[in-house]
């Protein structure tokens, strides 16, 4: 049975509306001026919130369909609109003030990259709309859970307590189950359109998250390099959760980066939401989110900025709280990850017995980071860190360097304590597990480069005034 594309597209419009209503309610855009300037975040905010809500309600066997989403969107839009009317204070805007030749170059590069990106995502849309479920994990794990949620409306016991891997969280299957309800059918092909909508949403959100601090040419060139990297769209097309995880994580880590840089509190709300969604998308989302928050906390604490440290702690608590209902469900049903136990990481004897696994894990993950499909994105990210340091944005540069190191170390630790033969588990997962590392680092790169560019502009302006 074919599903209804119009129903699926209407669901995407509802996610946009839910996000638009939530922007003022969450404090991400408390005024009309800011709401217009941060509207690009609305779709991903809506997807994250609807996905989290649907995943939690699935634990109570309460499905979300088009009717419920419509009611939610209307209520949130009304509440958000009322909130906007009550807080009319305009926010200061950081102008880039480029001289004319540079402004023209900026516009030309922006238009060129936007056209190339639009063409690529257009091509991807037509491919995704025709692509069936194909890869093993895409149908055997993720689509099976989505189909079960669609059919039963919740975490039907025999499926969710006995089909491996039982510990995989269910944000993506919950989003897809809502997609099937919107299409009024299980359609293993058309559901890919929702995946490419995530790519559009990610690109838009990242752009609008950084547009007030980064020249559009820098942002466009960086975003194009990120989304044209072969693993991003090829892996997204497989219906595995690694790229959706990477999208949520990258938006979270960029939000956190902005907080480390400028201390804007709204970015911590965005970080908590997106990193919480990442944790509920895949098990390793917890590791990545922990690495990001820990890196932010270390950098802020190193600057003895205890107030900001407190804010990071509140944001981290909110993010981890998003995972709590799922963890309670796992504990209540005695469901465990069969591949590793985190407590083994604290057992020196266990670690010593398996130390021969470390070398292959480090080597393979490192090779995957530098594989040809990524182009030279890791190098781009390293240059961006250098640019940030040269711009004397030491906290941001340290954060950008520290979280990937912590995340990489965490991944190696998981391979170290896993009971699956190391070569086998690396073959199955290494290529996919590095996606969040590369996408997160590449997404943060324009912010670092934008700071170097801005500092240079300010120096030039001072020179001109002095002259």
């Amino acid at each position: 049975v074919s599903g209804s594309l119009s129903g699926l597209l209407f669901a995407q419009v509802l996610y946009l509306a839910i996000g638009a209503g939530l922007l003022p309610l969450l404090g991400i855009a408390p005024t009309w001026d800011l709401w217009l300037r941060r509207f690009g975040l609305a779709y991903m905010v809506g997807v994250a919130v609807a996905g989290i809500l649907a995943a939690h309600l699935a634990l109570l066997d309460a499905p979300l369909g088009l009717f419920e989403l419509t009611v939610l969107a209307v209520v949130l839009l009304v509440l958000g609109w009322r909130r906007l009317r009550r807080t009319p204070t305009p926010a200061p805007k950081r102008a880039l003030n480029l001289p004319r030749p540079l402004a023209w170059a900026n516009v030309a590069l922006s238009v060129a990259t936007a056209l190339l990106l639009g063409a690529l995502l257009g091509q991807a849309t037509s491919a995704f709309a025709a692509r069936p479920l194909k890869e093993w994990d895409g149908w055997a794990i993720w689509a099976t859970k989505a189909k079960a949620l669609y059919e039963f409306g919740g975490v039907h016991d025999p499926v969710f307590s006995s089909y491996e891997p039982v510990a995989h969280p269910i944000l993506l299957p919950s989003l897809e189950a809502m997609g099937f309800r919107a299409m009024d059918a299980f359609d293993g092909t058309l559901i890919h359109v929702q995946l490419i909508a995530l790519a559009f949403g990610f690109a838009t959100a990242l752009w609008w998250l950084l547009a007030d601090r980064v020249p559009s040419a820098v942002l466009g060139v960086g975003l194009l390099a990120l989304l044209s990297a072969t693993p991003v769209l090829t892996q997204l097309s497989t219906n595995l959760a690694d790229v959706p995880l990477a999208f949520f994580f990258a938006l979270g880590v960029v939000s956190l980066g902005r907080f480390v840089l400028a201390g804007e509190r709204w970015t911590l709300v965005a970080a908590a939401l997106f990193l919480g969604a990442a944790m509920l998308t895949k098990s390793e989302g917890l590791l990545f989110a922990a690495a990001a928050f820990l890196a932010a906390a270390i950098v802020v604490a190193a600057g003895r900025d205890w107030r900001r440290l407190g804010h990071v702690a509140v944001s981290a608590t909110a993010a981890f709280a998003i995972l709590v209902p799922w963890r309670i469900y796992l504990a209540a049903n005695d469901l465990r990850n069969s591949e590793y136990r985190l407590s083994d990481a604290l057992d020196p004897a266990y670690l010593a017995d398996r130390s021969e696994r470390v070398g292959p894990a480090v080597s393979r993950l490192w090779d995957e980071l530098w594989s040809a499909g990524w182009g030279v994105l890791p190098l781009v990210a390293l240059v961006a860190v250098t640019a940030g340091a040269l711009a004397r944005r030491y906290r941001l540069a340290a954060f950008a360097l520290l979280w990937p190191i912590l995340a990489f170390g965490g991944l190696v630790l998981v391979y170290w304590i896993s009971v699956v033969p190391v070569e086998l588990t690396l073959t199955w997962t290494a290529e996919r597990i590095v996606v969040s590392l590369v996408v997160g680092a590449a997404a943060l790169a324009p912010l670092l480069v934008g700071e170097a560019f801005q500092l240079e502009r300010e120096a030039r302006t001072r020179d001109e005034h002095a002259g």
Binding site: L120, A127, P158, T234, G375, V380, V383, T386, A387, E456
Partner: protein, 151 residues
């Protein structure tokens, strides 16, 4: 112009150059992959959106229809399949059970035949399981058999 400013400008320029170089290295491959996917699957999925290429041989559409027509929503089924290899790390019975649990939802796969409402046999005889079965239905080619467990 100070050395610091030159270094900053250099870093910005290097970022732009490397990002453009990275795009040049990957854009074409990604574009080709997407074009290939559309060409390969557009006709196939227009006719059958829920087909799973490469794995559909585990349980062809005709077999899915044969079993689905006889099962009720929520039925617990056990797949009795002949032993054999499939791919590295996965034997044939595991592969066919994994595929059946996806394809045959909202019927639900169980791992123990004694918990099942129905038995789906693939290249095997359901009578081998030692359960009391109602009438056994067989597909026209004799490869698939369906039986409801007598209660």
């Amino acid at each position: 112009v100070s050395a610091g400013r030159v270094a900053r400008l250099g870093a910005v320029a290097l970022f732009l150059a490397l990002a453009a170089f990275s795009t040049a290295r990957t854009y074409g491959d990604t574009w080709d992959f997407l074009a290939n996917q559309r060409e390969s699957y557009a006709d196939l999925t227009a006719a059958e959106p829920n087909i799973v290429p490469e794995f559909q041989t585990l349980l062809p559409v005709s077999a899915v229809n044969f079993f689905s027509a006889r099962m009720r929503r929520g039925d617990r089924f056990y797949v009795h399949a002949a032993d054999g290899p499939f791919i590295a790390g996965v034997d044939y019975p595991t592969a066919v059970r994994t595929f059946a649990r996806f394809q045959l939802l909202p019927a639900v796969l169980v791992r123990d035949a004694s918990e099942a409402d129905v038995i789906l046999a693939i290249g095997a005889d359901p009578g081998q399981l030692g359960l009391r079965l109602d009438d056994v239905a067989r597909s026209s080619d004799g490869r698939y058999a369906f039986a409801r467990v007598a209660r």
